[in-house]
Structures are given as C-alpha cells and as structure tokens.
Symmetry: C2
Subunit: 182 residues, 2 copies
C-alpha cells in the first residue's frame, strides 16, 4: 500500500538525528538514525517505529489548494539535506468538535495554511495520518519536513508561529526530531 509509511528510529538509516525535543507529553526512546520505509514494517530491534499514511485533505478549500499546489515542492530534493519529523496528537476536545468548528480554528483563527504558505517553496512537507490506522498508535499525525541547511532559521520560525496558534492548544503530545542526511 503506497500511502502507508513507517518511520524507524534506531541505529540505521540515511537520516542522522541531530536533536530530539519533547514539546508536550512523553519523549520517544533515544535513537541515532531514522529511515523512512514505504509500507508497513515491523522494525524489530529498533528504538521506535511510527506509522502513518497520506490521505485526502481534511480542511483545505479549492482556492487554498490551488495556491498550495503551485508553490509546494516535493520531498526528496537533492539539496534538502535537513529534515524534521514532528509527531503530534490532539486531545479529545479537538476530536469532539464538528467539522466547521475544527476548520474555523485551523484556518480562520490560526492561519495554519496561510503560515505554511509563507515558507514555500523552501520547506517541503508530507502529512501522515495515524489516528484511524485501526491499532493504538502513539500519535494522531506525523509530519515530515525537508529543507536546505540555509533555510533552517525559516523552518524554526515556521514551528514557532504554528505553536503560538489557537490550534496548538489542542495538541496534547508533540516531539520534534531534527535530522541531517549524510
């Protein structure tokens, strides 16, 4: 299944972990490297394995989508040797909101899409959903970002701005893993 990915933290992989920071809730066990595997992988012997899949978008409108598609780069650019994996969970009060309420907080109030647009095309992003995978997963979402080393300050700013939004009041668990490709 091509939409499913496993992020495996351990001793192997092309991505070297340069820092791990628990922003909210429990941290992940320590690991040196990360590899990203297409599909489901049991990853025995690794420090952790996080699974998520790409899916249809939940909030974006056609107008926003047109802007995003025009500006967003793919993952895997040769010069994008920096990455970040940011697993987050949102609390029950988020999931109990209705669609119109979640959309309002997400964009009209927090500007999640608008903020992200300010960092395109520098920062590539791929969102993976975990909440409906059918087994107990530690996070609701895994977001994978890639960017060139020179864009690190811009990426830092992106995270700072997102975390200051009303949407982030619903984030109950968050870890920020920074990586560099060899």
């Amino acid at each position: 299944m091509s939409r499913l990915f496993t992020f495996i933290g351990g001793n192997d992989g092309p991505w070297r972990i340069t820092s791990t920071r628990a922003i909210a809730g429990d941290p992940l066990p320590p690991a040196l490297r990360v590899r990203v595997s297409a599909g489901d992988e049991s990853a025995s012997g690794s420090a952790w394995a996080l699974r998520g899949l790409t899916s249809n978008e939940r909030y974006v409108t056609r107008l926003e989508k047109t802007g995003l598609v025009a500006a967003q780069p793919p993952v895997g650019r040769p010069d994008a040797t920096c990455a970040a994996l940011v697993p987050i969970s949102k609390d029950d009060s988020w999931w109990n909101l209705t669609q119109d309420e979640r959309r309002h907080i997400f964009e009209e109030s927090s500007g999640h899409i608008r903020i992200g647009m300010d960092y395109l095309p520098a920062v590539a992003r791929r969102l993976h959903h975990c909440r409906d995978l059918g087994r107990t997963e530690p996070y609701d979402f895994l977001t994978w970002f890639e960017f060139a080393p020179a864009d690190t300050p811009a990426f830092d700013e992106l995270l700072t701005r997102l975390r200051a939004t009303p949407e982030w009041r619903y984030v109950s668990r968050e870890v920020e893993i920074r990586l560099q490709r060899d």
Copy 2:
C-alpha cells in the same frame, strides 16, 4: 481498540442474512450469517471479513450535530431486529476533491444529513471508516443500520433517496446486505 469493528460473514452469528444485493461493482462471496466483533479479528474460515472504525465526523456542522444528537437512537435496541450492512467505496474523483467541494456535494447539494434526519429515530446508524486503515481494504466505508420490522419500508425509502443524490455518482462499489436477528 474500541473504535474498530470486524463484520464477519459466514455460517455463524446472531444476524441471519435475508438478502445480498450488489448495487455497484463486484458482489461479496455468499454467506449465511453475520457477526459483529469489537476489535480486529482474523476470521479465518469465514466467507468474508470487513473492518472499519468509528471516527470523528467529517462534514457535520454544530447545528446539524445538535439536531442529530437529539434524535438519533443507539444501536442495540431490543425491538430493532432488522439490520443492513452497506459497504461502499467512492472513486478517486471524490477523494481528489477539496473539503469545501465534498461538503457542498454531501449536504448542500445532496442533503445527506437532511435525508437521514427524516428517518430518525426509526433507523439507528453507525458509520465505520476503512479507507485509512493502512492495509488494502475493499471498501471506504461500512454503514450499519438497525430498525424494527415495521420500519422496513421507511428504510427502503431512505436508501432509494440517498442513491438518487449527486453524492452517489461518486460511489464506485456498493453492496447491500439485509439481516434479521434471531
């Protein structure tokens, strides 16, 4: 995981299959009975096993939710001895739409919620999502309905009205399994 359910078609279970009708796409293999299992179950030896999980609502607004919550009955009422399992898939042209476009077709154009309200509290309904389960599932959604025998004509009308909506043009596979509890 309490949100995950497995619907198992075979020779066992409290629900006797009274009819199976392929509305769109391939039918399911023949089975005599259905049991609904909370959680994941491998169900070896059964004719088929379909998995899905309840999740946050994707289209309903707060105003609609308030109306639904006031009127909708739970599953498991003793007099609701008739049931239907309706697995459906939607095609890529649906999943490639943006949220505002899907919502517009779903409710403003098709009146999915409005139609459903007309059959409350007679028809209990539980929606299960399969599309993001992380393995290849044959359907995107499984909807389970329960009602009293006297409400069968009303339920027939509900299905007829839903299938006549613009939303149903996106349904690429659909099977209708009618059941009676012993």
